[in-house]
């Protein structure tokens, strides 16, 4: 056997260039490379780009909110405007029953909504991934018990459970995060378990075991990277759900009365009779904000799914 196989023209991986110094440098080059490929795929999805742009705008607004709005603007007692002023040049979206600018309320509310959305998602996706991989990898009796618990939580009405949590733990943002995190994980767990089972049936798992790899090795080096795309897509979808859930809970009066959120603003509008008296500017902006953020996350999630779904990718 003479020379090495004849090669196709060197791929983007960068064929014959000088060998990099260390495995670490190699790893970085590889990561940059795969990130570049991911971005190239993502760029082709127009809806995903729109979602990403929307998301960037919302995050930017949330981060810059303290620069735009002073504490006096949001004060209940000495709000700048009169109650329920319709949109005008001074108050582009009108004012609420205390005389605060609705625009300021929506901008400030994005901070709580996004924070809750991200933290709750982190919690439920982390929990779901852990349960899913462990149940899928080990199998047997323990796995059965784990999945029965998952099913049980899955069929519980999440809102009722969240209300019960809030009742036990008292109102507040942390309660809402916990309530969402502890009720929304089963969907992720089931998805991850299904994918784990599929990955575990592949021959490279056998190879890893035969190389001497233990449970931890197989789960972290082989199963996790292969369930990550699903988890990532699921994460962005869950953020949207969490934000809606947070708004719902705030709307039902389970949120912290001292923090401003979109759901809380909606609740105040309802209490102030905005529905019956046709004060559309009080209702519409926070509602639209919720819809837009949820939409942006969903678009991103779908786009990521499309890029990373191995079945779509294998077709190249």
């Amino acid at each position: 056997m003479s020379a090495g196989p004849v090669e196709r023209p060197p791929g983007e991986a960068g064929g014959g260039s000088a060998a990099p110094a260390s495995p670490r440098a190699l790893a970085w080059r590889r990561r940059r490379h795969s990130l570049g490929r991911f971005w190239a795929g993502y760029r082709g999805n127009r809806a995903g780009l729109a979602g990403l742009a929307g998301l960037a705008v919302f995050v930017l607004i949330a981060l810059c909110a303290p620069l735009l709005i002073g504490p006096a603007d949001l004060s209940l007692t000495d709000a700048p405007g009169g109650p329920h002023e319709p949109p005008s040049a001074a108050y582009p979206l009108g004012t609420d029953n205390y005389g605060r600018s609705i625009l300021d309320l929506v901008i400030w509310g994005s901070r709580v909504s996004l924070t809750v959305g991200f933290l709750a998602t982190l919690m439920c996706v982390g929990l779901g991934t852990l349960v899913g991989i462990v149940a899928g990898h080990y199998g047997g009796f323990g796995s059965t018990v784990l999945m029965r618990i998952t099913d049980w939580v899955l069929v519980l009405p999440a809102l009722v459970l969240a209300v019960a949590f809030a009742a036990v733990m008292g109102q507040g943002t942390v309660t809402i995060i916990l309530a969402i995190g502890l009720t929304a994980w089963p969907t992720t767990a089931r998805l991850v378990r299904a994918q784990t089972l599929a990955v575990e049936a592949r021959p490279y798992i056998d190879r890893a075991k035969a190389l001497g790899g233990g449970h931890g090795h197989v789960m972290t080096r082989h199963v996790l990277p292969n369930v990550m795309p699903i988890v990532l897509a699921q994460t962005t979808l869950t953020v949207a759900e969490s934000i809606i859930m947070e708004s719902t809970m705030a709307f039902l009066g389970l949120g912290d009365p001292n923090t401003l959120s979109w759901g809380g603003t909606l609740q105040e509008a309802r209490n102030a009779g905005a529905v019956s008296s046709g004060l559309w500017w009080h209702l519409l902006p926070p509602g639209l904000a919720i819809v837009l953020v949820a939409l942006a996350f969903t678009l991103c999630g779908r786009a990521i799914e499309g890029v990373l779904n191995p079945r779509l990718r294998e077709r190249r």
Binding site: M1, S2, A3, P5, V6, E7, R8, P9
Partner: protein, 367 residues
């Protein structure tokens, strides 16, 4: 099959592929998969097409019934019983797909519908294309199952209840359902054990000769084709590089590629292959970037300088044999065709070449 009356047979070929080219249009340009292929199958005979994956052999199988995806562009002619498949009307094509020719694919598990009983799947084309009563169809299905060596009660089974060999038998029964005159078998025994492979090959050969069906069999295993078929065409990078009577191509290959394929499956008991597995270094060329000259040159153990300049055509390499390699040319022929002559140094002579292979004009190879 090196019988006389060759010209007469040529005219009455059941299948004649003439200068067929297939090009796939992709995002990064055109990829030629098949580049000017001629094939002919006389009625009641079996033609084997050999080659490794990516050489275009499966593309040909699909092109014969116009089953290629819409990104493929075809040119040339495919004459099935005198009619050109490529210009055929849609309705006529449908009729041809069932009654004229049918395909047995490899990987029977994926080609069968997992949630339908195999009896129903065999009956489907009969119900679609022939006016028959349900009772008649049932009788026909039982008869077909019996022909392929399965008990007729198996009609009620689902694909997953059958073994690999049995599923392949079902595929053959489906192919036979509408009494086709040509069967195209694409790797019919790949992934089957030797014993099951022998059963299936024996079954196919028997059916083909009993019913006078023509067959085109595609495989990467030259020994299987040599054993089953009358004639053999070896493909490389979208072209036929050698053609001839099956046993002769297998036992005395003229093209270095055929030789490598032939040597890949050793004859047991042959001391030459004991502890000496033989293969070809390298990979088949990227069809989008074929090397200049002979496309086999980068992997060829007998390549010469002139191979880079000459794109060999299928030259005569003995009686009823042709090979696309400059080594089959005599010096005079080379001059006549404008091919640079062979280098004088004897070291450049191709190894392991049969001594009588130097002069294609000598018909001494045929019995």
């Amino acid at each position: 099959m090196s019988t006389g009356g060759n010209d007469a047979a040529q005219r009455t070929n059941f299948l004649a592929v003439e200068d067929l080219s297939v090009t796939y249009r992709t995002g990064s340009g055109d990829v030629p998969a098949v580049r000017g292929v001629d094939l002919a199958v006389a009625p009641g005979t079996k033609l084997g097409v050999a080659g490794e994956s990516g050489c275009g052999k499966s593309t040909i199988a699909l092109a014969l019934l116009r089953l290629l995806p819409s990104t493929a562009r075809m040119s040339g002619r495919i004459l099935l019983d005198g009619e050109d498949v490529l210009t055929m009307k849609w309705g006529r094509l449908r009729a041809v797909r069932w009654a004229g020719a049918s395909i047995v694919f490899q990987g029977a598990m994926h080609s069968l519908n997992a949630v339908r009983r195999i009896g129903d799947q065999i009956a489907e084309p009969i119900l679609l294309h022939e006016q028959r009563t349900p009772a008649e169809v049932r009788t026909r299905v039982s008869a077909l199952l019996e022909q392929v060596g399965l008990p007729q009660q198996r009609a009620a089974a689902y694909p997953h209840e059958l073994s690999g060999g049995q599923r392949q038998r079902v595929m053959i029964a489906m192919a036979l359902a509408c009494n086709p005159r040509l069967i195209i078998a694409d790797e019919p025994t790949t992934a089957l054990d030797v014993m099951i492979q022998a059963q299936i090959l024996r079954l196919i050969s028997g059916l083909v000769s009993d019913h006078g069906i023509s067959m085109l069999m595609i495989s990467h295993d030259l020994s299987v084709l040599a054993d089953t078929c009358d004639r053999l065409a070896v493909m490389y990078a979208g072209r036929v590089v050698e053609e001839g009577a099956a046993h002769e191509v297998f036992s005395t290959p003229r093209h270095p590629y055929s030789e490598a394929l032939s040597a890949a499956f050793p004859r047991i008991g042959d001391p030459a292959s004991r502890r000496r597995p033989r293969g070809l270094p390298g990979d088949p060329p990227d069809p989008a970037a074929l090397p200049a000259g002979c496309s086999f040159r980068p992997r060829c153990p007998a390549a010469q300088d002139r191979c880079a300049e000459t794109d060999p055509a299928l030259w005569r390499a003995g009686a009823e044999r042709r090979a696309a390699c400059v080594h089959v040319l005599s010096d005079e022929q080379a001059v006549e065709l404008g091919v640079p002559p062979a280098p004088a140094a004897p070291s450049a002579a191709p190894p392991d070449r049969p001594a009588n292979g130097a002069d294609p004009a000598q018909p001494e190879e045929i019995r």
